[in-house]
Symmetry: C2
Subunit: 371 residues, 2 copies
């Protein structure tokens, strides 16, 4: 019995509603069928041929009857202005695709860009000290200035400081939520949520409207590390969720960094433990770059042309216009806006893109020049 | 031409006065002759037979004519109450003997005991912060309480705090000087110098009266690490002498520990660098003990009976008396003094010895009991 497939997204949402079909099994279906829609329209014997597929999963796929709820979920996302990025989509973050248990579908408010794979996660205690917040702000400001995207969890305390600092430095930042992408949490970060959405993205794997339940957060943490080249833990008590993020980062083969503090400070106990276990001690952004440079150099030589090809088709003409202007002479952002006739938002976005791809460079005094 | 050897110590002092005869070459002579006096009474052809002995060293040995100065040096040490411990002496610290360039002769004020090989060095900045001094005091108090001897350099700032804390906790401490053992340096540590001499030892390889010249200190530092199972650097700027001590410790195969501090604190920059280079991050004495425990366990099974045999002959009867008293019933130190008829100093020393060797144990309220 073939299922009525109403949109490209429907089978991806449906997959997450099939009982017993976990984050690892779905990858088998995708590997086998390419398009998960095929999984719902296959016969029992076709499904039985797939190794490691439980009988109850086959049952669940064959008898799936919640297409109306699936369509409702898609409409809900559309109405909230959320983008859906299925696992097989070209815009699915490639680094996240590599982890053992990637989400089949991401809900995104804002935009995940190709250059967001140059990302570093900065996380820490909800009850961060003034010291921890200061260190986080400095690191994120410097990461943003170097063109890195700062990933964090939008939680109270340190996460919030990390996003704020990246934004203040004019950088990009990704917030991964443990609630639905339409449910900013904590409530006092609603303004921050909107700023992140504008200059980066808010990301969740949980269905629209999901409440921020405690057990969502470890799962959320694997996305924070999964999206990033490395995870910097700035402050953590001995039972901090940030230590879970660090452990997941190690499993995923990502770098783990930790910021030291004074002996006796409870919020440095977790970071000191990480350092003893082999995390790299971080004093400044140089310590981070030094460690991830090999991956970056690798990427630069391999994927720079790819990143160029991945610019959205409609943006390309505008980007060419801006680039041509800067090839004539260096200019401040206001001059570029005036000369190009583009909106300030478009121009900033294009300049950042061009900068991240190495086509333009910022000069002192907020001037830009073509490389 | 045989040299007139006036005392056991004379040839050792003479060796250090032979030009071109360094700390490594002297070991060849000792290995060859056993007694270095023989080196001075050997023929040129006998000396030429020793591999790697330069012609000018042979010349220097054969023509050595400063025996009067040597005798003067010995009298000067005697008058200052300093003990001389040549390399071949049974009381020469065995751990120090193992380094590549051990001093041929140690000048000691106070007493180096067999149990001082259970030593940990604690060093740091001369301009230690309040934070650094607090951490050093806590670590040294706990090291002393666990029966470790605390080794340091008696310098201003952190070294002084380390010795003080060990003494306050009733423990033993060794100070290694970059000046003659009769020249307490810095002057404001003269009181401390006398307290260390009473409950430990002040040690130097430099001749009596040597001034604290800057270039003596790196040499002094190799003794600090050489005497110790490991070196704890509590605070260090990026150009601190403590980093030299740490480097020497690594060369000598000793453990290196470093205490973290806040990012941005100049005196933690050196310790953070050490941690990045592989030094173990230390928050508490447990982090130290965990790392050196394998060496200690090794030592306990091998050398404990040896340590017992090495108790000075004259001390043994008194120690037996004290031990017998405590086997009858636990007692406070005052009761032991009264019952034994020994001096308070003798009793404290014996109790500490017995405790370090595991024969007696302290109970709450400063009572002692036999194990």
């Amino acid at each position: 019995m073939a299922a009525p497939v109403r949109s490209d997204y429907a089978p991806w949402i449906a997959l997450s509603r099939v009982k017993g079909l976990g984050r690892v099994t779905f990858k088998k279906l995708v590997a086998h069928f390419g398009d998960p829609a095929a999984a719902f329209s296959s016969t029992s014997s076709e499904l039985s041929a797939i190794e490691g597929l439980d009988a109850n999963v086959i049952e669940g796929l064959r008898g799936f009857a919640e297409w109306e709820e699936v369509e409702k979920e898609i409409r809900r996302a559309e109405q909230a202005g959320a983008t859906l990025i299925p696992f097989s989509d070209a815009n699915y973050p490639p680094r996240l695709r590599m982890i053992a248990d990637p989400p089949p579908l991401l809900y995104v408010k804002g935009e995940v860009r190709a250059d967001d794979d140059r990302a570093v996660a900065v996380v820490g205690s909800r009850s961060a000290s003034e010291y921890g917040q200061r260190v986080a702000r400095n690191l994120c400001r410097d990461l943003a200035s170097l063109g890195f995207t700062v990933v964090s969890g939008m939680a109270r305390g340190l996460d919030g400081a990390a996003h704020e600092a990246a934004l203040s430095a004019g950088g990009r930042t990704l917030a991964v939520l443990g609630s639905g992408v339409d449910r900013p949490y904590p409530p006092e970060h609603e303004k921050l949520y909107h700023r992140i959405r504008e200059k980066g993205a808010v990301i969740s794997e949980f269905p629209m409207g999901t409440r921020p339940l405690a057990f969502n957060f470890p799962a959320r943490n694997r996305l924070i590390s999964g999206l990033s080249l490395g995870v910097v833990v700035v402050e953590a008590t001995e039972k901090s969720g940030s230590l879970i993020t660090a452990a997941l980062a190690l499993e995923q083969g990502r770098e783990v960094f930790a910021v030291p503090g004074e002996v006796g400070a409870s919020r440095s106990r977790g970071t000191h433990r990480l350092i003893r276990q082999g995390a790299k001690l971080v004093e400044s952004v140089a310590d981070i770059v030094e460690e991830i440079a090999p991956q970056l150099l690798n990427r630069a030589s391999v994927s720079r042309p790819g990143a160029q090809r991945m610019l959205p088709q409609q943006a390309r003409a505008a980007a060419r216009k801006v680039f041509a202007l800067l090839q004539e002479r260096s200019a401040q952002i206001d001059e570029v806006i005036e000369s190009s006739g583009l909106s300030p938002a478009e121009v900033s976005e294009i300049l950042l893109d061009l900068e991240l791809q190495g086509y333009v460079r910022q000069l002192p005094g907020k001037r830009y020049t073509a490389e």
